[in-house]
């Protein structure tokens, strides 16, 4: 195509009309901070890890009285310890997966491979958040159940309700918890959606070329 050949000639002109960066300017640039999406993704994932670790640790940081109550709720100590070990094990597993995933992101890979590594990392964070939300949902439902069953203050308040009213109350609580979790999930989708919009678009464009 003649036009592109014309452009090629202009494109490969010696200086290209650019203002050359001086050695001093280039040195200064090396020590500035990157604002790449990988870095942003990294900060978000660290924040999420910490957030959920703190949330999971709240029961241990509360008063002794509350801990005693917790022990009566989970009267089976083996089950309680087992669940704690499992939840921290899962957090450690996610930290390991995230770490190896970040290490596999290399700017010297092909464009497609680089995008895939970033999307894989994002997927790990997504599963981590999903796991925590599901656990939070279950914990809330189980918490309500035990409060009804074992806490006289709570069960007293609902004792005057008939069967039908009790069912309606239960449904309302479950719907409330589900909506609460969905809102948080939706919020996450928006954050990642905005951050990775361009990456997703370009990745889809590259994938389209393979058909």
């Amino acid at each position: 195509m003649d036009e592109l050949e014309l452009l090629k000639k202009d494109w490969n002109k010696e200086n290209g009309g650019f203002t050359k960066k001086t050695t001093a300017e280039l040195y200064a640039m090396l020590h500035k901070k990157s604002s790449s999406i990988v870095k942003t993704l990294f900060y978000i994932s660290v924040a999420e890890l910490l957030f959920w670790i703190v949330i999971n640790s709240i029961p241990y940081m509360t008063s002794e009285e509350y801990q005693k109550k917790l022990n009566t709720i989970y009267d089976n100590e083996f089950l309680f310890t087992g669940l704690t070990v499992l939840s921290y094990g899962i957090i450690l597993l996610f930290i390991y997966l995230l770490f190896t995933s970040y290490r596999s992101i290399s700017v010297t890979d092909s464009a497609k491979k680089l995008m895939e590594s970033i999307l894989k990392t994002r997927k790990i964070i997504k599963y981590y958040v999903l796991y925590n939300l599901i656990m939070a949902g279950f914990s809330l439902i189980i918490g309500f159940y035990f409060a009804f069953k074992h806490n006289p203050a709570v069960s007293g308040k609902f004792s005057h309700l008939g069967n039908m009213e009790l069912i309606v109350t239960t449904i309302v609580i479950i719907v409330f918890i589900t909506v609460f979790i969905l809102v948080i999930w939706f919020f996450y989708r928006i954050i990642y959606g905005l951050l990775l919009k361009r990456l997703n678009r370009n990745y889809n464009e590259l994938k389209k070329l393979e058909f």
Partner: protein, 164 residues
Amino acid sequence: MNKEQEHNFIALLEKHQNIVHKVCRLYTNNQDAHNDLFQEITIQLWKAFPKFRGDAKFSTWMYRVSLNTAITLYRKSKRTISTQDFNGVAFKIKTEQYDDTEEQQLKTLYKAIHQLNDIEKALVFLYLEDKDYREISETLGISEVNARVKMNRIKTKLKTILNP
């Protein structure tokens, strides 16, 4: 990284800085954004420099890192232009007076290419840099046949825009 490595890197970057400038010219639309992207590419090049092995040409290695930064890693600031649909561009160009002088033709060409999507820009960039289809396919991670097919489609699109 030690001082000597830093010195070597700067010397190489200074020599080949036109590659980075050209990528910035394609992916940004004003000087501030150009400088922003230049900065980010420099950081990414520097971070990846320890992995650079002398067996590849520095310039070839730069193409990959620079394009990857522009297409994938760089978070566009509000100052940079957003990628538009090609059809929208065609309309805009058609309505402008088309002067056949070389300068005007170049201007129109740059304008058209500037508004291709990110991947199409990368293909055009490597094509203008005289890279063969093997290198283009390896840089983007697509097959050689697909790189060729896509490049031909871009050429046809450009032809249609320039000669409506």
